[in-house]
Symmetry: C2
Amino acid sequence: MKTSFDLEKFIEDFSTNCNKVQLKTFSKNETVTSYIKNRNQLCILIKGTADLVRYDLNGNRTIVEHFSKNSLFGEVFYDITTNNELLVEARANCTVLFYIYDDLFQKCKQNCKFHKELAENLPQLILNKVTDLNMRIELLTKRSIRDKLLGYFSLISTRNLSPSFELPFSLTDLADYLSVDRSAMMRELKLLKEDGFIEKSGNRITLNYR
Amino acid sequence: MKTSFDLEKFIEDFSTNCNKVQLKTFSKNETVTSYIKNRNQLCILIKGTADLVRYDLNGNRTIVEHFSKNSLFGEVFYDITTNNELLVEARANCTVLFYIYDDLFQKCKQNCKFHKELAENLPQLILNKVTDLNMRIELLTKRSIRDKLLGYFSLISTRNLSPSFELPFSLTDLADYLSVDRSAMMRELKLLKEDGFIEKSGNRITLNYR
DNA sequence: TATTTTCTGTTGCAAAAGCAACAAATTATT
DNA sequence: AATAATTTGTTGCTTTTGCAACAGAAAATA
């Protein structure tokens, strides 16, 4: 895992009069922001978890990204070309920093402490985001539900340094994240149990493969 | 589209004695690099086109990313957790800049012109990469081959500012890029023609929807 | 230019995934 | 504690996708 500085710590003892920065809190299930064409917001999740969710024309819901502490989101990272609605929804109580900027990597005119720190650390945070996106692509390019599940489990297991873990999603959300039908996914989970690949009780999974 | 500085122009009249930078050329179908665990190379495609390709255990080939001028690649952007082979293959004659770095965003000790310029421009190039990856995810999360094709076509069409365009891939490669079976994709293309969504002659597609 | 290789286009059949509907279990709300 | 809402688990049926195999076209190579 790549290291990154502790933004939360930094924010805590941070008081700025910089008018380009806003700190807001959200409670579970609230909409944090929706992506709007021709705006270019940058947001940093300081605390909590949230999802970027898309609802398409067929009524399918997709969890496009899953955010936790230090995750970046906002239109800066997205070319909004489609008519799909893109919403960021709080999964737990959240603290989010909104950054309205002229030039993302330029220090603001006041040259305030916040902008200085941000400019220094943003590149690494973005790099973390890129590796996250690449892992997501690796999952999505797998051809079967089985391979998607196994790939996802193996990922979480590696992160937790344990073959046994609680899913960070409900099973309903996991299906939306892997972009597959929920009932088909449930069926495949059952088969994975029957074939001895995994053990499962509730949302706790134990892997029987390395 | 986001703007970015012209790296090719910059490289042309660039001569450095910085020992951390290498410029190499490749001809079509040559392997530019393969991703190696515990190395952290950063590469910039100065000229040409190339693909990041993965071969999985089932023998499936996936085009993970498609690179053109100014694209970034290398292990910096990838957590190599799987046993899958990841190769960058030149699709056309290429010029690639390899950057062996200690700290990606730190100027090198010699404080050479190249590192200065790169440090200034890298963040924007990375941001472009992030929006590319997000578009790719949007495509891959579409549930049917039909929607993937239509989404992809609409993307290319928007980029080219025209409802008619040559595919930048062979159809075989397009299937590997959309992560679907080639023959199933061909069948769907035929249906799209029959249903009047597209016209197709060879690798030229014309869209009949906006 | 002849020959080999790759790519396109097609099809029948098999396997996988999606859809719809519902009951049971769990969690949230009043 | 009672009720409502959401999530889990399951299944029969339908549709979509994948697989395999092959012929013709196009492109690359000798």
